[in-house]
Amino acid sequence: MSSARAGTTPWLLAAPGALLFAALVIVPLALTLILSFHVYDAASGVKDETTLAHYAAILSDSYFLNIFWRTLRLAAMTTVICALIGAPEAYILSRMREPWRSVFLLAIIGPLLVSVVVRAFGWSMLLGPTGLVNEAFRALGLGTVKILYTETAIVVALVHVMLPFMVIPVWTSLQKLDPMVEAAAWTLGASRFTALRRVVLPQVTMGLLSGSLVVFGLSASAFAIPALLGGRRLKMAATLVYDEYMHELNWPLGAAIAILVLVINLIIMLAYQRVVEARFKRTLG
């Protein structure tokens, strides 16, 4: 009897989570996948026949391909900038003393408590033609620069939103570091910079890479920021899907785009993780 119970107990324990996951992720995803193969008629809506036409249309239309390319490019740029800002920020944070460390950690995580939409509107006020940034440019005699509704605006706002997701994993891996290891490098003749580059950085690479994965994934699927700061013309994948559903009412095409974006994202992230793990399993276990 006890062996039978031992057999079913893990399943029972896992059931609530599995059910939730199935109901909220698997089922909608499957429905979307099915929908993407249905024929759409502008006059009568979704029909019962199936087709691959939507996929063919997306993959052969440079309009869609351009948007995919822009999505990946902006997500990659956001990731790189987040890494360049976030890693030093996390290092400085880890060297701070209390209470300053807590104060600054709160300042970094705090923005997560504010809605992305509110923050996006904040940036649009700052970056608009009469916003604070352009006022400053004019005061310096640089004239007005168009920032709002450009890729720059999207990247700036994305970096702002995503930075905590980079700082926190890097900070966590810095916490695990023996501070004496850096001191050991100094005593062996390494300058502060060399010690950082040769000793500290390689040990936080794991944090940096997992942070990159999160930032890239979230940026590539971001909706509010491209919608509010990219304007009607500069679309990214998520806003494109939204348009197909809500403006064109072509749900099957929107579903096909969503599935394609998901697949591309998955391929990139899995490949990335595989490369990373192969490299670091050997040395850091």
């Binding site: 023996d178 290891v181 005593t187 040395t283």
Partner: protein
């Protein structure tokens, strides 16, 4: 003038002096231990020598050169950290080569010197392993090789053996001392373990509350501890309170023989004697009688606690292949007056 000298070295944290007015002169090739309980300032002293902590005041000179404010990467000292602080993402050979790389030593010479250093600590076969694949003792030896390969003028060891188990610690004590004698590097070791300090050092520096209490060769330190604190911190010490009479300390109507120059007759006095200086005799045949309360067999020695009219006395006897006494036995304790010492109760040395 010594090879490495500390002059009036002081470090304050807020109002608290972690180290105050430490002066020490170390000769070339000497092995010095800084011994004391945790929080006595020994590690801070070591870190000031290493350049990892800035002294509040005082001077450090190395071979006539003032290095008080020099950056750690310019001092060129070899340091073995308590946690070993190996670079986890580098192999053993890469760890050892790091200091040479920083000194821009050419590759062929670098490889030869790494090989030599690993041979010195008997790790030549493990050059391509990563630190996490090594045992504690092996990591420790990598740390020693990494510190020695750069030919440092001074080697600093911060509690180098505290992370090892008892058996290994004993082996590494002799091995470290052997390596140091072969290489001849001036060495300063921080430790809280008195047996480590006694067995390895040329001289021991005892520290308490940020100050140096005594600097002496291990044997002299053990035989002539300057303060009651040192006498009980270094080895064990029986302390029996009584009154000074011409030839000893009177306790409970009995005068126990000991030396005690400079004490006035009738003055309060404390008799101090080490457990191994006391012999066991038949009841009534010694200078003090008592009853065996506890008996501990430690392999090479027996340790007894004996209840006497003067208090509980610890006695340590070498194991000569028979049982000297059992619990409850009535015994006599005996010692010669030259092996016990009397002092004033406040701890000031009488002589």
């Amino acid at each position: 003038m010594g090879f490495l000298t500390l002059a009036g070295l002081t470090r304050l944290y807020g109002d608290v002096a972690a180290v105050s007015d430490v002066s020490l002169s170390v000769a070339k090739g000497e092995f010095i231990s800084l011994l004391g309980p945790s929080g006595c300032g020994k590690t801070t002293t070591l870190q000031m020598i290493a350049g990892l902590v800035e002294p509040t005041s005082g001077r450090i000179t190395l071979d006539g050169r003032d290095i008080t404010h020099e950056k750690p990467d310019r001092r060129g000292l070899g340091i073995v950290f308590q946690s070993y602080a190996l670079f986890p993402h580098m192999t053993v050979a890469q760890n050892v080569a790091f200091g040479l790389e920083m000194r821009k030593v050419a590759r062929p010479e670098r490889e030869a010197r790494v090989k030599q250093a690993l041979a010195l600590v008997q790790l030549a076969a493990l050059a391509d392993r990563y630190p996490r694949q090594l045992s504690g003792g092996q990591r420790q030896r990598v740390a020693v090789a990494r510190a020695l390969v750069i030919d440092p003028p001074v080697l600093l060891l911060d509690e180098p053996l505290s992370n090892l188990d008892a058996k290994l610690r004993e082996e590494m004590q002799f091995e470290l001392r052997g390596i140091q004698q072969r290489v001849g590097t001036t060495t300063i070791m921080v430790t809280h373990d008195q047996s480590e300090a006694l067995s390895m050092s040329d001289r021991v520096v005892v520290m308490e509350q940020g100050r140096i209490m005594q600097v002496d060769a291990p044997y002299r330190l053990y035989e002539n501890p300057a303060t009651p604190f040192i006498s009980s911190f270094v080895g064990k010490m029986n302390r029996l309170s009584g009154v000074w009479r011409a030839a000893g300390v009177e306790i409970g109507g009995r005068v126990l023989p000991c030396e005690g120059a400079g004490l006035a007759d009738g003055a309060a006095a404390v008799l101090a004697i080490r457990p191994e200086k006391i012999g066991l005799k038949a009841h009534g045949a010694g200078v003090l009688d008592g009853r065996v309360k506890g008996r501990f067999f430690l392999g090479s020695v027996w340790y007894f606690t004996v209840e006497t009219s003067a208090g509980l006395v610890g006695v340590s006897l070498p194991n000569a292949g028979e049982e000297p006494a059992r619990e409850g036995d009535q015994v006599g304790l005996d010692w010669s007056s030259s092996s016990a010492r009397a002092s004033k109760p406040d701890g000031a040395q009488s002589s």
